[in-house]
Each structure stands twice: as structure tokens, then as C-alpha cells.
């Protein structure tokens, strides 16, 4: 669950959360583009460290912890597979770190952006509202469904179901009596939700309006310009300086 939890919006107000959603998009773009530009470990370490620093300063310690913990197995898998493929520690660790950068930056983005702001960004980029609505509904219902799952677990346990018994496969099988009612309820819930959407005039007007407005503050300008410059530097050093060929793990080992 820690993996899912890391993507949930945190209603507590933090300075980072108050930034304009467009600023956060720039933040996300910076990390996604930079991490995909480079393959080797050194740059990825720098990116990951700066990302974690921004996260810690903005108060997303728990989210980062959840995310790293949740993606640990997958990250190790990426490192191992890349090692078999390239037989290069530098690149395979770089790939693992890249995955972490992608996941942690997305987690900070989603944790700091109220789902309704996603609607505003989608609207800003002329993307269909139904997409952002799907995201908004997901974050609305994940806590509700998690609560329901717990209720079903309690109910099945009180009927004698033992969840933590048996080998690996048996344990997975144990969860079938939890999943079936959970899925049936979710379908029922979606029907009821669809009914209430109808009675709230969902899709009545082609031009949906938004009661909230996007607004750039001084901090937004500062942050976006900083991130923009950093992104330009990253692209320049990747494309023209070929920095990766100069600063490799081997060259660093030679220097020290």
C-alpha cells in the first residue's frame, strides 16, 4: 500500500503545495527530462539528491520514504536486469536511480497538487476534462475503498479466514475472499457514482467552467525560472558538452 499512498494528495498546506500547478509541471518536467537525458550514475546521484533535498525542504519526508520503500523491489530488479544486459555497474545503478527519480518526483507532484488543480492544468493544456476527472475520482475513492477493504478483512476473519497462513501461493489464495466482495462493491459503487454524476449535470455543457483560477505568484516565477535555467543547463551539457563521456565512474576513480 505504501506505493499507492505515496501518490495521494496531502491536504495539509505546505509552501510547495501552494505553488501554481504549472510551476509544479515545470518541476516535474525538469526531473523527468534530465533523468532521461543521462544514463550514468554520477548525474543520477546528483539529480536524486537534489530531488530528495527539495522534497525534504518542502516537508514530503514521509512520501519519499513511502515511495522509495514501495519501489525498492522494482528498482533492484531494474539494476540486476541492466547489469546482465550491459555488464556495467555504472549504467545499471544509473538506471535504478533514474527509476527512483521518476517515481519520487511524480509522488511529490501528486502529493502537492490538489486533484482539482489537475483539472485546471488539463484545461490549460486543452486536454479533455474526463481524464483529470478520472484522476480526481481515483484520489477521492482510494481512502474509501481502503477502509472498505479493512472492513471486509475484519468480516472474513471473524468468519474464520486465516490470511497469514500457509506458503506463498496459499497466502495469495487467502486473499480471494477479500477481493471478490471488494470488486463487487466497487462496481456497485461506480454505478451509484454514475447516477449522482448524472444528477449533477455532468457533461451537460460543452464548455465546463472552473471556479478556481490559475495564478502565478512571485515564488512561482522564481521557482519556474530557476528550474527552467537548470533544465537548459542539463540539455546543453547533455547535447554539446557530452558531459557523460568526461565524468564517468572510471574517470572519477582515476582522479581520486
Amino acid at each position: 500500500m505504501s506505493f499507492v499512498k505515496a501518490f495521494l494528495f496531502e491536504p495539509e498546506t505546505k509552501t510547495f503545495s501552494k505553488l501554481d500547478p504549472r510551476t509544479k509541471i515545470i518541476f516535474l518536467t525538469f526531473f523527468w527530462v534530465s533523468t532521461l537525458l543521462f544514463n550514468r550514475m554520477i548525474i543520477q546521484i546528483i539529480l536524486f539528491t537534489s530531488l530528495v533535498l527539495i522534497g525534504l525542504i518542502s516537508g514530503f519526508k514521509e512520501k519519499i520514504k513511502d515511495m522509495v520503500k514501495g519501489s525498492l523491489i522494482f528498482t533492484s530488479l531494474i539494476v540486476v536486469i541492466n547489469y546482465f544486459y550491459y555488464s556495467d555497474v555504472d549504467v545499471s545503478l544509473g538506471m535504478g536511480l533514474r527509476f527512483l527519480v521518476l517515481m519520487v518526483s511524480s509522488s511529490i507532484f501528486f502529493a502537492s497538487t490538489p486533484p482539482e488543480d489537475l483539472g485546471l492544468i488539463f484545461n490549460y493544456f486543452k486536454l479533455p476534462y474526463s481524464l483529470s476527472f478520472a484522476l480526481e475520482t481515483a484520489s477521492r475513492f482510494i481512502p474509501t475503498i481502503a477502509l472498505e477493504a479493512q472492513e471486509i478483512i475484519d468480516a472474513q476473519r471473524s468468519r474464520g479466514l486465516e490470511l497469514d497462513k500457509g506458503g506463498f501461493l496459499k497466502r495469495i489464495k487467502n486473499y480471494i475472499p477479500i477481493l471478490i466482495p471488494l470488486i463487487v462493491n466497487a462496481v456497485q459503487r461506480s454505478l451509484e457514482l454514475a447516477e449522482s454524476l448524472e444528477s449533477r449535470a455532468f457533461g451537460a455543457s460543452n464548455k465546463r467552467t472552473y471556479s478556481k483560477k490559475l495564478k502565478f505568484s512571485k515564488l512561482d516565477y522564481l521557482f519556474s525560472i530557476g528550474m527552467g535555467i537548470a533544465l537548459a543547463v542539463m540539455i546543453y551539457s547533455a547535447a554539446f558538452l557530452k558531459i557523460e563521456e568526461i565524468v564517468t565512474l572510471h574517470s572519477l576513480i582515476k582522479v581520486f
Partner: protein, 292 residues
């Protein structure tokens, strides 16, 4: 002209053998407070669904007959368009709370209608004030009680300013205290705002006093209709399994075993007044309000 007119409607859901509604006729006037009662599975919910076009637009099945809302056949308009005339409130507040906080929940429907920003903000501000939601306006649904959620949903529906409010067991998931508060709220909406209320409710004791008409359904058919004081006296009500308000039960018992009483009481207060009046008229009544 009737505000809602259900004309000889029969409806069978796709895949089911028996029709859920059989030859239903119903007329609702502007400002009515209609209470629909009947045992579970009698077709109450289906009847409500025909009133805002969920049937036939959303649910598939065979429908004969017509439903007119303010003179417009529901077959001819989309449900989302009818939403501006008929607001529907359902049983489970959790599945109707669409967004992540109260303020946004109220603006959601208005945004869907495409109103201007300023207008939306104005309506949201007014609605929050009117329904006394200041304290909870920034709260997410999981921080609200069932009663609060249902109140917010009613507020969100009324923000869209429909003339008719249709409610399908809105208090089913609530405790008695909050159920009472929600039904009292409906009475205020009916009296002060002049909205037509159509309510399906099992807690007949709370709802009967405010309704000016009661419709009883059983097995897809309308079996009785009239003022609450008439309808709850009928023997058939108890036979189909509807809970008769206890003042009416007491009235029945007293008229049978003691002496005739002039009118059928619907509340404890009315019962008290009637009994007092019959013995020693002129004595003053206790000044505090009855709340059970």
C-alpha cells in the same frame, strides 16, 4: 399544469423477468411534499429514476407510458439537462460525494453547467451560509459524519437551483438524530424555498408530519394514495409491511377500545393536545418542544 406527471408507466429492467413498475399514475403539484413508502423492492427507487430521466436514458429496459416534468417528456431530454429541474439525492452519501472538499462539492455541479466563475463563487458562498457549512467548508469527505455529508449533498444539489428535489431514502445510512435533522431540513426547504419534495423514506414517523401526500407502493404497483391522516389509517399499509407512525397506532387503539377522537394525530405533540383537549380543555400545555 402538474409539475410532474407520471402517465401509466410500466418498466422492466433489462434481464429481469417481472416489471419493476406496473401502470403507475402519479401527479405532483408545485410545492407538494410527497412521501413515497413501501417495502424494499416495491419499485420506489425505480419510480424516482423515471422522474429525472435516469430511466430510460441510463438504465436499459422496456418502458411504456410517459413521464412529464414541467410539460417536457423525459424521453426527449438528457438526464444532465433535467438535472437543472429535478435534483436527485441518493441513499449512500459516500458514493455521491464526488470531490475532495465541501466547497468544491458545491461548485462541482455549477461548473458542469458552465456558469461564469464569479457567479459560481457567489452561489457557493451563499449556499455555505444558508446551510451553515462554514465550519466544515474545507473538510474532505472522510472527515465528515454521514449526516454532514448528506447535508452537503443536498446543499450541492440545491445550489443548482432545481424546482424539484427527489430523495431516495436519504436517511438510510444515518442515525436517528441526524435522520431527523435531514427531514426537518427538507421541511424548511419545502416551506421557505417553495421547492417540491418527493421523498422515499422508511422512517415514516419523522416524515409523515411534513408530507401533504403519501403514496404507498407494493410489488411495483401503487396501492394507495392520499393525505397522511387518511393513508396511515388503512389496514393494507400494515399488511404490506410499512411502519405506521406510532401516534396513528395509538389513535387506532384508543378509538377501538376507548372513545372516538376527532382527528388522526401524526406527532406526539398532536396526540397530547388531542387527549388533553378531550378531557380538560383550557389547561395550558408544557412550553418545551417534544423531540421524540
Amino acid at each position: 399544469m402538474e409539475q410532474i406527471e407520471v402517465r401509466n408507466v410500466t418498466f422492466k429492467y433489462k434481464g429481469s423477468k417481472k416489471p419493476s413498475l406496473k401502470n403507475i399514475d402519479l401527479k405532483v403539484k408545485r410545492g407538494d411534499f410527497v412521501l413515497i413508502i413501501g417495502p424494499t423492492g416495491c419499485g420506489k427507487t425505480t419510480l424516482l429514476r423515471t422522474m429525472n430521466g435516469l430511466i430510460p436514458h441510463f438504465y436499459e429496459g422496456d418502458m411504456t407510458g410517459d413521464v412529464y416534468v414541467e410539460g417536457v417528456n423525459t424521453k426527449d431530454v438528457k438526464t444532465s439537462e433535467l438535472a437543472q429541474k429535478v435534483g436527485l439525492v441518493f441513499q449512500n452519501p459516500d458514493n455521491q460525494f464526488i470531490t475532495l472538499n465541501v466547497e468544491r462539492e458545491i461548485s462541482f455541479g455549477l461548473e458542469n453547467l458552465g456558469l461564469a466563475e464569479e457567479e459560481i463563487r457567489g452561489i457557493v458562498r451563499e449556499t455555505i451560509k444558508e446551510f451553515n457549512l462554514e465550519k466544515i467548508k474545507d473538510k474532505p469527505p472522510y472527515a465528515l459524519s454521514g449526516g454532514e455529508k448528506q447535508k452537503v449533498i443536498i446543499a450541492a444539489i440545491l445550489a443548482m437551483n432545481p424546482d424539484i428535489l427527489v430523495l431516495d431514502e436519504p436517511t438510510a445510512n444515518l442515525d436517528p438524530f441526524n435522520a431527523r435533522k435531514i427531514i426537518d431540513l427538507l421541511h424548511i426547504i419545502n416551506k421557505e424555498k417553495g421547492k417540491t419534495i418527493i421523498l422515499v423514506e422508511h422512517r415514516t414517523y419523522y416524515a409523515a408530519r411534513y408530507a401533504n401526500r403519501v403514496v404507498v407502493m407494493s410489488k411495483g404497483e401503487k396501492i394507495s394514495e392520499g393525505s397522511p391522516r387518511e393513508v396511515f389509517l388503512k389496514e393494507i399499509i400494515e399488511e404490506v409491511g410499512v411502519f405506521v407512525p406510532f401516534p396513528v397506532k395509538l389513535y387506532k387503539f384508543l378509538t377501538l377500545n376507548w372513545k372516538p377522537i376527532s382527528t388522526v394525530p401524526l406527532t406526539a405533540e398532536e396526540t397530547f393536545k388531542l387527549l388533553r383537549g378531550s378531557n380538560d380543555a383550557g389547561k395550558s400545555y408544557p412550553s418545551h418542544k417534544f423531540t421524540f
